[in-house]
Amino acid sequence: MKPRAMNYVKPTRRRTGTILSLAALGLAALAPNVLDSYTRHVLMLAMINIILGLGLNFTLGYVGQPNFGQAALFGFGAYTSAILAMKMHVSFLVSIVAAGLVTLMAGYVLGYISLQLRGAYFCMVTIALGQALLLMASNLLRLTGGPMGLAGIPGPKLAGLLSSTYSLWLVALGLLALMLLVTRLLERSVMGRAWVAIRESETLARSTGVDTFHYALLAYVAGALFAGLGGSLYAHYVGFVDPSIFAFSWSSMSVVAVVIGGRGTIWGPVIGGLLVTLLPEYLRVAALWRLPMFGLVLILIITFMPDGLVALPRLLAQVRSRGKTGVALPGGGGD
C-alpha cells in the first residue's frame, strides 16, 4: 500500500481544476438563456435541494447523526423571508441575509437541544421539533397565515436589469458554489477531521481531547445557515409558503438525497439532490405510479449501494477485478 498524501495536489492540476470549475460556473450562469422554462424550473428546484442536502451533510454525513429535521430549518428560513418581505416590505437582499442569520440563531437553539442526544433519540427529537414548528406555523394565524400559508412573496430584481427568475438562478448558483467551497475547506480543516472522528467513535474522539458537543453543534449550525438561505431562496422563487414546508416528507427527502448520493462526501449531495428532483420528473411517464416507483428505486439503490452512488466506480472496479480472478461475489445472486 502506498501512503496517500491527502492535501497534496500538484500545483498545475490544482490550477486546471480551478479554471475548469470557473468555466463550469460561467456556463451555468449563462444557461437560463438557452434552457426552456420547464428545464430551468426543474434545475432551479434541484439547486435548492442540493443546497439543502449540502447543509444536512454536515450533521448527517460528517458527524454521522440521523438528522431528520432539516426541514425545520429550511421552513424557518422560508417563513422568515416571507414575513419580512410581505409584512415589512424589505428588499430581497435584506430578506435573504436576515433569513440566514435568524435561522442560524434558531439552529443554535435547536441544535443545542437535540445534540444532548445521539442516535435514535437524536433522530426523534429532530422529528419532534419539526412537527412542533409545523403546528406552530398552522396555528399562529396572524404571523404565518395559518394553514393557508403566505402567498405573493415578491421575487428580486438584481440591478434592475435581470428578470426575477434569472436573478434567483444566479443567487442559487452563487450559494451552491460557495457551499461546495466551504464544504471542501471544512472537510480538510481541523473541524472536518473532528466531525469524522466523532462519526467513527465519539468516545475515542473525546478521549483525545476533542470537544465533541462543540464540534457537532458547529456542524448543525453551519447546516442551519445554509438551510435558512436555501429556504429564503425557495420562498422568493416559489412565491408561496405554507406549513407543509416543515413536514417530515421534506426532511426525509433531503436525507434521501444525501444518502443515495453518498454521505460525508462533497459530491454525494450534488448527485443525490439532482436525482431526487429529476427522478420524480422523469417518472412522470408512469403517471400515478411515479411515487411507488420512486420508492422502489430508493430501496434498490440503498440496498445495493448503502454508501451511495459516489461509491459506484469503486464497486464496479471491484466487480471487474473479481470477474478476472473468477471469485464469486459475496451476497450476489442466490437469494
Binding site: Y121, T203, W289, G295, I302, T303, G331
Partner: protein, 290 residues
C-alpha cells in the same frame, strides 16, 4: 370534577390504543435496531383491509381484523426478506431510508387502488354510550382499549414464555450463539418483523371503528407512535404502555382545558422536554451519551 374524571377516562382509553399502535414499532426497534418509518403504513393497511373485508366481502368484524392482521404480517415478512435482510448491520440512517422507501410504495399504491376517500368501518357495537357511575364511554372505544390491553399482555407472554419468543430474544442478543444452538436466525428476523407488522395492523383494525380510514392515516399514526415510543423509551415494552397512557391523558386534558388546536403540539414538546431530563425516555435502556 365530573368533567375531569370523564377526560381522564377518555385519556386512558385513547392511551391504551396509542400503546398498542406503538408496540410493534418499539419491538422492532428494540430487537432489530430498525426505526420502521413504514409502521404507519402497516397500521393503515390493517385498517384498510379490515374495511374491505367487512364491507366488500361482508365478513364479520373480528374475523376481518384477524385476516387483515395475517395479510399485513405477510407484507411485513416480505419487506424483511426482500430488502431489510440485505442491509442488516448498516447504520440506522440506511435502514430507516429503506423503510421510508417501503412507506412511499405502500401509501401511494393504497392511494391509487382505493382513492383518497375517507371510509368508516362499521362497528359491531351499539352506538349509544355506556354510562358507568356518571362517566360515559362508547362501547367501540371500550372494546378497542380492552383488546389493546389484552394484546399487550399476550405479546409480552409470547416473547417471555414461549420457545419461539425465547428464540427471538436470543437471536437479537447474540446471533452467532443463537445459530450455534440451532436457531434459524434468518427466519427469526423475518418473523420478528412480521410480528411488528401484525401488531401495527391490529391497532389499525381496532382504531378503524373509532376514526375514519384513508391512505393518509398512516403518517399521522406514525407520528403518534413516535411520540409514545420516545417518551416511554425506545425498545421498552413497559415504556410503550406508559408512553401511550401519558400521551392519551395529556392530550385529553389539553383538548379540554387548553385548546384542541394545540393538542398535538403538546405531545411533541413533551418529547423534547422529557428527553432533556431523561435522555433515554422513561424506561429506555441507558444509551451512551457522548
Amino acid at each position: 370534577m365530573g368533567q375531569l374524571a370523564q377526560q381522564l377516562l377518555n385519556g386512558v382509553v385513547m392511551g391504551g390504543i396509542y400503546a398498542l399502535s406503538a408496540l410493534g414499532l418499539t419491538m422492532v426497534y428494540g430487537m432489530m435496531n430498525i426505526v420502521n418509518v413504514a409502521h404507519g403504513e402497516l397500521y393503515m393497511l390493517g385498517a384498510l383491509f379490515t374495511y374491505y373485508l367487512t364491507s366488500t366481502l361482508g365478513l364479520p368484524y373480528l374475523p376481518s381484523v384477524l385476516a387483515a392482521l395475517v395479510l399485513v404480517a405477510l407484507i411485513g415478512g416480505a419487506m424483511e426478506r426482500s430488502s431489510l435482510r440485505r442491509i442488516r448491520g448498516q447504520t440506522m440512517v440506511v435502514t430507516t431510508l429503506v423503510t421510508l422507501g417501503w412507506s412511499l410504495i405502500l401509501q401511494n399504491v393504497s392511494l391509487i387502488l382505493t382513492g383518497g376517500i375517507p371510509r368508516y368501518i362499521t362497528s359491531p357495537f351499539p352506538e349509544t354510550s355506556l354510562v358507568l357511575g356518571g362517566l360515559q364511554i362508547a362501547p367501540s372505544r371500550l372494546f378497542a382499549a380492552l383488546a389493546a390491553g389484552a394484546v399487550i399482555v399476550l405479546t409480552h407472554l409470547f416473547l417471555q414464555k414461549t420457545v419461539l419468543g425465547n428464540a427471538m430474544r436470543a437471536s437479537f442478543q447474540d446471533k452467532d450463539a443463537a445459530s450455534l444452538v440451532g436457531i434459524n436466525v434468518g427466519l427469526i428476523y423475518m418473523l420478528t418483523f412480521a410480528l411488528g407488522a401484525a401488531l401495527a395492523a391490529l391497532s389499525g383494525g381496532l382504531l378503524g371503528t373509532i376514526s375514519y380510514v384513508d391512505p393518509s392515516m398512516g403518517a399521522k399514526g406514525l407520528m403518534k407512535s413516535f411520540v409514545v415510543v420516545t417518551i416511554g423509551g425506545m425498545g421498552s415494552f413497559i415504556g410503550a404502555i406508559f408512553g401511550g397512557l401519558i400521551l392519551g391523558i395529556v392530550e385529553a386534558l389539553a383538548a379540554a382545558y387548553i385548546s384542541s388546536a394545540y393538542k398535538d403540539f403538546i405531545g411533541f414538546i413533551m418529547v423534547v422536554v422529557i428527553l432533556l431530563f431523561l435522555p433515554s425516555g422513561l424506561f429506555g435502556k441507558r444509551e451512551r451519551y457522548a
